[in-house]
Subunit: 98 residues, 4 copies
Amino acid sequence: MTQVGHNSNKPRAGGVAVDQLKSIIARVEKLEEEKKGIADDIKDVFAEARGNGWDVKAIRQILKIRKMDQSEREEAENILDTYMSALGMLPLFEEDGE
Amino acid sequence: MTQVGHNSNKPRAGGVAVDQLKSIIARVEKLEEEKKGIADDIKDVFAEARGNGWDVKAIRQILKIRKMDQSEREEAENILDTYMSALGMLPLFEEDGE
Amino acid sequence: MTQVGHNSNKPRAGGVAVDQLKSIIARVEKLEEEKKGIADDIKDVFAEARGNGWDVKAIRQILKIRKMDQSEREEAENILDTYMSALGMLPLFEEDGE
Amino acid sequence: MTQVGHNSNKPRAGGVAVDQLKSIIARVEKLEEEKKGIADDIKDVFAEARGNGWDVKAIRQILKIRKMDQSEREEAENILDTYMSALGMLPLFEEDGE
DNA sequence: CCCTGAGGCTTCGTAC
DNA sequence: GTACGAAGCCTCAGGG
């Protein structure tokens, strides 16, 4: 079996597929490395802030608030969409008797 | 090894532990059975509703809206708590010069 | 026959339909609440197990295996039923509901 | 020495502190945005892989294994460092940053 | 067959 | 430093 996935179709055969697989793995690992680097940068910022006397926990709270505010706005739009969608499909409670 | 978990401490030994394990499994399986029963009840309600001519998808939307509304309210309280917490810990931007 | 219960797509009109809709929503929400309660009970069991030193993840795996075994058994029974049906035989027993 | 940069718990007072706080928040939010962008890139790679017929779950397992191997290797290096440190030896090389 | 949504696993931050 | 709790990520099941 030249392919990795047990349950998958077997795309192409031989070296091409292997090269493709290696490429996928390399790209993901590179991206994850970058992601980790950024996470470390964030830690550095907090460490610097702490070193300057700031209450890091409080700053995290602020960031959380800002994030929640923004997601709340998005959620409100979501509710509106869902609501309109539901309205478009309902009997609409009309009192047309019969 | 009388215990299941590889990485766990090994609580007690012999038959008592086994009985306890069996009890845990039995309780969980019973509860999951009950849970599945309720899920089936819900399906029945929807099936009945569909049989009565209702647009089940629309009703699901309504339920979703009601759920979102309520979680939005809870989230608002969350924001308030978080905000108060942040306020309690911050320099408060006072302009007291020095 | 009233305005509900027939095959029309949308039971418009009248308080009865509204009441019926409210009933559907109430029943589903009640059932979902019960479902959540049971889910919480399951969490409690696991928490207690963890407190007693058990490896919860391993226990979950056991439960999963038991479930697979059981569904395989059910599958076997299904095959049996199919064969019996094909042979014009009646099921020997109804399962008693609890 | 200004009002920031010392060891006081709370750099109160003045616009400089506020500016510094704003800067911290902005930097963290920017970095988190970048982080999210990279996470999305990773998703894209997996989506493309899936589109080419690969078993994404299997690839994830490979990545996990490679990560474990690597951290075991790092652990081994850590042990080496520890030994060398205990022996009063200096590290042979610094890792070049990229 | 796709897609959304719930559930479980893992990691990171916090409190003791 | 250890253990608890929360947040993000991945998986899988159910519905459209």
